[in-house]
């Protein structure tokens, strides 16, 4: 009963910080899967001067063309360049229609770089030949394949996009869902030239340049910027790598974690007040007990030690139960939301609640031990 406040406090702190940290780790992992050493060229300004996302970044004013790609290919050595073009379209199978699905047009290496190439038995990625010949083929994301063909394999079937029939030649492996952003599982992938036909223009929305290695990222970025500036305004494009993207995402997540921790702190305070209340309610009873113990010869230190031990035990029981509940809760949440218990949240929650428990357990005892035995015995 006395431990209840501690249990609630510890549990909520652990749960909330677990969610925050899980989210952070999830996003980090997602960006890692974008591939190391990748440099992205994107229209518009993606980052503001402070390293956060620019507000106008989402509106893509310019787009690139195949000329830019060939230009880059010519001027940069030893890099792999992948253009990408995404369109949002409705896609139909004989069974149903999925609305506003993102279909990315790209080249052969896009599938390899993003780990999207189907594993054995699930078909294959398209070839460069299929791209240049505009062969109408499509690779479906794991979820999209299931949605379109609920009861059978999608492989080898036909889907219709904007009146054009595409043959499903592969189904990507399950990637998991992402938050806010697009899910790889709900996308389709087609050759770039097929995408140009679907979009009705030859625009390229982003170009991915794979640097040779980590050390060459910065120099490659500089080169790219120089090349792009020949044709575009400074504000018309952005060149960034995944680590840059990651750090801005992380700064957002940190804000999220801090606010979650704030909520946790509030629950700690509430829990603390709960502990305090229960401890103070029993002060009368405790004061009488202390009076009696003094009357029969307890020395002040013995009384303090007794109440300290009691408070510590109560706090430990409460704290451990709270940690356990928080951990179990995190496990439960994990099945539909990324969550991860962190040591620091455990220490923080346990520390603060124990401290409150101990202070409010011992303070009245300390006060009572200063009264004369009879005063303490008659306390009300």
């Amino acid at each position: 009963m006395t431990s209840l406040g501690i249990i609630i406090g510890v549990t909520s702190v652990i749960l909330l910080t677990s969610i925050g940290n899980g989210l952070k780790k999830y996003v980090t992992d997602q960006f890692d899967s974008l591939g190391a050493n990748s440099i992205f060229i994107s229209p518009g300004r993606v980052f503001n001067d402070n390293g956060g996302f620019s507000q106008s970044g989402a509106i893509m004013t310019t787009s690139f063309s195949l000329k830019d790609v060939t230009n880059l290919k010519r001027k940069l050595d030893n890099v792999e360049i992948t253009p990408a073009n995404g369109v949002f379209v409705d896609i139909s199978s004989p069974f149903n229609t999925q609305k506003s699905i993102e279909i990315d047009g790209s080249t052969q290496n896009f599938g390899i770089n993003n780990n999207l190439a189907p594993s054995e038995g699930n078909g294959r990625w398209f070839t460069e030949e299929e791209n240049s010949k505009k062969t109408p083929v499509i690779i479906l994301g794991y979820q999209l394949a299931q949605d379109l063909f609920p009861n059978s394999s999608a492989l080898g079937k036909k889907v219709i996009v904007k009146g054009k029939t595409l043959k499903v030649i592969g189904v990507s492996d399950k990637k998991g869902s992402s938050f806010g952003g697009p899910s790889f599982d709900k996308q389709g992938y087609i050759p770039l030239n097929v995408a140009f036909d679907l979009a009705g223009n030859n625009d390229i929305q982003s170009i991915i340049v794979k640097a040779k290695n980590k050390d060459s990222i910065e120099s490659t970025k500089k080169q790219i910027t120089k090349i792009m500036l020949e044709k575009y305004d400074e504000d018309a494009f952005s060149v960034f790598d995944s680590s840059q993207l990651l750090s801005s995402i992380n700064s957002i997540i940190s804000v999220l974690t801090i606010s979650l921790t704030g909520i946790a702190a509030i629950s700690l305070v509430v829990g603390g007040i709960g502990i305090m209340n229960i401890m103070l309610v029993s002060v009368t009873e405790r004061t009488r007990e202390i009076g009696l113990r003094k009357a029969i010869g307890a020395y002040p230190r013995a009384i303090l030690i007794q109440f300290l031990i009691e408070a510590v035990i109560l706090s430990c029981i409460g704290g451990t139960t709270g940690i356990l509940l928080g951990y179990l809760g995190t496990l439960a949440i994990k099945s539909f939301f990324p969550a991860q218990v962190t040591i620091s949240s455990v220490i923080l929650a346990f520390g603060v609640s124990s401290l409150v428990g101990i202070i409010f357990g011992v303070a009245p005892a300390r006060k009572a031990s200063k009264l004369s035995p009879i005063e303490a015995l008659r306390y009300e």
Partner: protein, 237 residues
């Protein structure tokens, strides 16, 4: 010990000099004790009597070093207790004094045996001896079959006997009992008095007890009658 009943030639074990105790409630102040002078000699058997509210319990608490007088001096074995440190007082309460409260003051949720053993927690009696001491004392007060009962599972008289056993557990030189027979039938009351006589005569312990019963009061060597916080009369047997 000699069978000498007169306190002459004996050591003064406890002395009260001009003790007052004033309670202030709101703006009213009230003298529960008003200029008490009292010498208690080693081995004495003293009864204190007087009307309800006359200050008997207040006086007993001061004798038992459980409360501080508003003014005056308490000397134990010739030492002014005001000069003693808190842990020294605690040790005196633990070893030298055994106090039986009018309201028993047993720990609830705690068995008779544990209640009796409580003072030993703060003494240097070896752990392995404690259980036996407690059981022997409970048997002496006739509660050998109630050792595991909590106070709530005992009658008033039985609780009183647990309180007496607890007061005796450290073999105190001075036993202070505030109405030790108040809740007992006359047979059990006599048993307790016999027990006290034995402790006084055979073991030479000093005993001070409060009672309303004039017949019981007369069993002591000396009877002190209190009224309105003052000693009205002292009678020697």
């Amino acid at each position: 010990m000699t069978k000498l009943l007169s306190p002459n030639n004996r050591n003064i074990i406890l002395e009260l000099k001009n003790i007052t105790k004033t309670y202030t409630t709101g703006t009213n102040s009230f003298n529960a004790l008003d200029g008490i002078n009292l010498k208690i000699y080693e081995g004495e058997f003293i009864s204190i009597t007087g009307p309800s509210g006359s200050g008997k319990s207040t006086l007993m608490h001061i004798i038992g070093l459980l409360d501080n007088p508003t003014s005056g001096e308490v000397n134990l074995n010739g030492r002014n207790i005001a000069k003693l440190k808190e842990h020294q007082l605690a040790q005196i309460r633990n070893v030298t004094l055994g106090f039986v409260f009018q309201q028993f003051n047993l720990l609830a949720k705690t068995s008779s045996l544990e209640n009796v053993l409580l003072p030993l927690l703060y003494s240097d009696v070896p752990k392995r001896d404690r259980q036996k001491i407690g059981l022997d004392l409970l048997a002496k007060v006739g509660l050998q079959d109630k050792t595991n009962n909590t106070p709530a599972q005992l009658s008033g008289g039985q609780q009183q006997r647990v309180a007496i056993a607890r007061a005796l557990v450290n073999n105190p030189k001075i036993i202070l009992a505030d109405e030790p027979t108040g809740n007992l039938d006359s047979k059990s009351g006599e048993d307790v008095m016999k027990f006290f006589h034995q402790l006084n005569e055979k073991e030479g312990r000093t005993i001070v007890f409060v009672t309303h019963d004039m017949d019981l009061a007369k069993e002591a060597n000396r009877t002190i009658i209190i009224k309105d916080g003052k000693i009205l009369e002292e009678k020697h047997a």
